[in-house]
Assembly symmetry: C2
Homo-oligomer: 513 residues x 2
């Protein structure tokens, strides 16, 4: 058998497995629409108290917008009080401004079947974002490369449980800093047909991202529709820096979505309490979201919150902490009350390996993510070591967990078929349901089938080589990469992208800043 035939055979099996898995999960849509209620830990009264403090904070303290006179002028013209780089907001000003932002919007993918709805009752899972390192059980931890980057794009494409291709799935450290955005955006377009994220590390790289999107979707389409979503972090506490403001302006002007995210480790970049931190999160998110509406009213924008805590002993960041879950939950309610889509959550952990700590911390955060009503979940798979490392094994372990979340988010079906009265009547006291007609009709899609979990007997597990979850995951991601076949890309578009990239790359020297 030739390599190609072997590969096709693997692909066939893999495709069948994926279809089976999809059908087992009953998934036919490219994102989650919740069948369960929002879980709010904050009461309405508590939320109001936090909002009142945010109003005071915005007026009495204000935010700084650094090294960007254009933004300061925008704020002044809009009625804010501007004193140097400090901007103070009269009560109600920001809430008035965000009224033009859509409560829900579509991010288009180049394959329309992969479009995602961001906001409302929907939840979109996207992979890990930003790690300079990658790791796997075979090679260990090392700097990420563009090959790793492509691999993670492929793994996200292969998973029925990841709805989005993400952005910086790892830093391709083998490419120059000022040119790697071309290869990253191209990889998302080429190796996946799921929606993706653009570059934010400099305004011109944002412009390049928009230009590439225009080559794929057309200029008019991009101007009228969201085809990219971007991560704009606040420099907490209460600061937006020129880099992030530059990217925000480019994307908002082009009608592309910004996720305005306070990036907070509570105790260091915010007060050491959940409620105090929430009032700061709300202030930063409102200010950034409102700014997008001043640049282009109606531009899609997402209220973000990347909030965890630190160890008060060592100062090290902690993840998957109960305080992190409470922060996530509280911010979710504040975003919903503000009428904006909400981004938070992920497969967070401070662990260095895909062990029990990693799984426990990720599971705690993902549960809070789903229940709280997050609309866009970045870092949903692959995160390790406080976000410094993308893990191949953890990627597929997390993706499996996301599959479980699809089931959980559906809630409890109480249709007549789900009530199963006929099964209970057929079987009766002391009987067995495996052979019942109702079981036969329903068993295929009945229970989620984990790709990672080992439910066999101890003896069978011994015979299978005593593998732990990480070792089983190691086999799975390698199988998936071998089975990968990419989506079609119109050769004319591909060529246009490659020409644009070649021309742009040749127009300025490499640099690592």
């Amino acid at each position: 058998m030739s390599d190609a035939a072997a590969s096709a055979g693997r692909r066939g099996r893999s495709a069948r497995r994926e279809r089976r898995q999809s059908s087992a999960g009953g998934i036919s849509t490219p994102y989650i629409t919740r069948g369960i209620p929002f879980y709010d830990v904050l009461s309405d009264e508590a939320a109001e108290k936090i909002e009142e403090q945010t109003d005071r904070l915005l007026w009495e303290i204000g935010l700084e917008f650094r090294e960007d006179p254009e933004v300061l002028k925008i704020w002044k013209d809009a009625g804010a009080e501007v004193d140097g780089e400090r901007v103070r907001f009269p009560k109600g000003m920001l809430r008035e401004l965000i009224k033009t932002a859509p409560a829900q919007f579509t991010q288009h993918a180049r394959n329309p079947a992969r479009n995602v709805e961001i906001g409302g009752n929907n939840l979109v899972f996207a992979p890990v974002y930003g790690p300079p390192f990658v790791t796997d059980l075979d090679q260990g931890r090392r700097y990420g490369t563009i090959e790793d980057f492509r691999n993670f794009v492929k793994l996200a494409y292969m998973s029925p449980w990841l709805h989005h291709s993400g952005g910086t799935v790892c830093e391709p450290v083998d490419l120059p800093v000022n040119k790697r955005h071309f290869d990253m955006v191209y990889s998302h377009i080429k190796y996946s047909d799921k929606p993706f994220m653009g570059s934010v590390t400099a305004p011109e790289r944002a412009e390049d991202s928009v230009k590439m999107a225009q080559l794929v979707f057309g200029e008019d389409f991009v101007d009228q529709n969201c085809v990219m979503i971007q991560l704009i972090n606040a420099n907490s506490p209460l600061v937006f820096d020129a880099t992030m403001l530059g990217a925000l302006k480019v994307y908002a002007k082009n009608n592309q979505a910004c996720i305005v995210s306070p990036f907070i480790l509570a105790g260091a970049m915010s007060p050491v309490t959940v409620a105090g931190t929430l009032s700061q999160v709300l202030a930063e998110a409102l200010a950034g979201c409102a700014l997008t509406q001043l640049i282009r009213p109606g531009a899609p924008v997402v209220f973000g919150a990347f909030v965890s805590s630190i160890s008060m002993q060592s100062g090290a960041p902690t993840f998957g902490s109960p305080e992190g879950s409470l922060l996530l939950n509280g911010a979710s309610k504040l975003a919903r009350r503000a009428g904006l889509p909400f981004r938070s959550g992920g497969s967070f952990t401070a662990s260095k390996v895909p062990d029990a700590q990693a799984a426990q911390e990720s599971a705690q955060t993902i549960a809070a993510t789903v229940q709280s009503g997050v609309n866009f979940c970045l870092h949903a798979a692959g995160w390790l070591e406080g976000g410094l490392c993308s893990s191949y094994e953890k990627f597929v372990m997390d993706a499996d967990q996301l599959g479980m979340m699809h089931v959980l988010a559906r809630g409890i079906d109480t249709s007549d078929e789900a009530m199963a009265m006929d099964a209970l009547q057929e079987v009766g006291p002391g009987g067995h349901f495996l052979g019942a007609a109702h079981t036969q009709r329903n068993f295929e899609g009945a229970f989620y089938r984990s790709s990672i979990a080992d439910n066999n007997s101890y003896e069978q597990w011994l015979a299978d080589g005593e593998l732990d979850a990480a070792k089983r995951a190691n086999t799975i991601w390698k199988q998936q990469l071998r089975a990968y076949t990419g989506p079609e890309l119109d050769p004319a578009i591909d060529e246009a992208l490659l020409s644009f990239i070649a021309e742009r790359k040749a127009s300025f020297p490499d640099s690592n800043v």
Copy 2:
């Protein structure tokens, strides 16, 4: 330094650590009182639909009460329709009967500071129950012994996050089946002062458990107060067997609490759907709970639900599944609507080792446990391998997770001090909160301090020996057992217990049935 001095030194450090941890977690009560709302996945309409099906099921199908003519007579006298061992219940009969059961009750511990409130807004964590095997990283998996049993009682006693000493923390397989209950109950009384569970494996063993409780608490006190809680499993579907009925009658008659628990692996012992399974759970729990009230109106009783699913490929039980979480959540609402305390949840996993699978499955179930409103959580720490194995490492890993749940269950404090306006005013844009006066006042109790998680840098983790969570847990449980010092036990009570046990043991031959 003598061994005793070294041990005292360790005790001192351990006690300080425990106090610090308690104070860090802000825990001053011996159980959790929720500061967060109940999270209900089932709507009221959906719950009513399930309850209506349960009514039909109870009347049209009924339950079997096997090999216990006394119970059949009790049902007949109460107005049920009895046909052989099959008992059918007119609509509303069981709900009328359970009205005498308390919605909340106190289980007394021999140390009154350890009393727990079961029901209402409270949550009590108890250790794993029932495994014949134990495992640790040093010795591997083997049959449990009475020494292992005592070790788990000691570990539960040492943990600030376990409120209860539990019951069969592992099977002491080195003791004869018909006499090991003496040693188990005695170990709970001797090595802990937290509340505990009695034997249910035969009516005479239940009588022995009551007798031993009477020696500790006094006969009158036991007759008027709950000092033991017991696990009475239904033999699902829709059957109660003579063993469980025998124990139920002894405990109810003596005013001791029964947890009536359908023990269901959906797809085998119930329909393959969540809603269908819930209607069966409700039928079994209502029938068992009502029976206790016929035996002694007002006797404390708990609506239990041990419900998971099976792999539809292999038939193997699965744990920590999304369907399991939905079942737990739905059953919790049904129990609350029935006005009864609810038992469910735990550190469930099918994994054979304390790895990522174990942690992920446990975390998913524990999150659902806390949010759904479980009142008594058995198996909260130490469960491995589908309940066949008590794991030393997982015990302390789970206990750490329970500590996090204490924080989560408190919810979000919005007192003026928690709002931290003074910190925000002091620090301002671009500042750092570590040195703020508010941080200094609050940092000690601010964030949960995990005993297991490693939040250090990768380089520090390498220097520390590249330990994963399980290996760190291995160090911790051994430290804890070395540091253990038991609570005082009145020598007269101790002597009375030992005499009673010696006399009883001598009165009949050893047997392994």
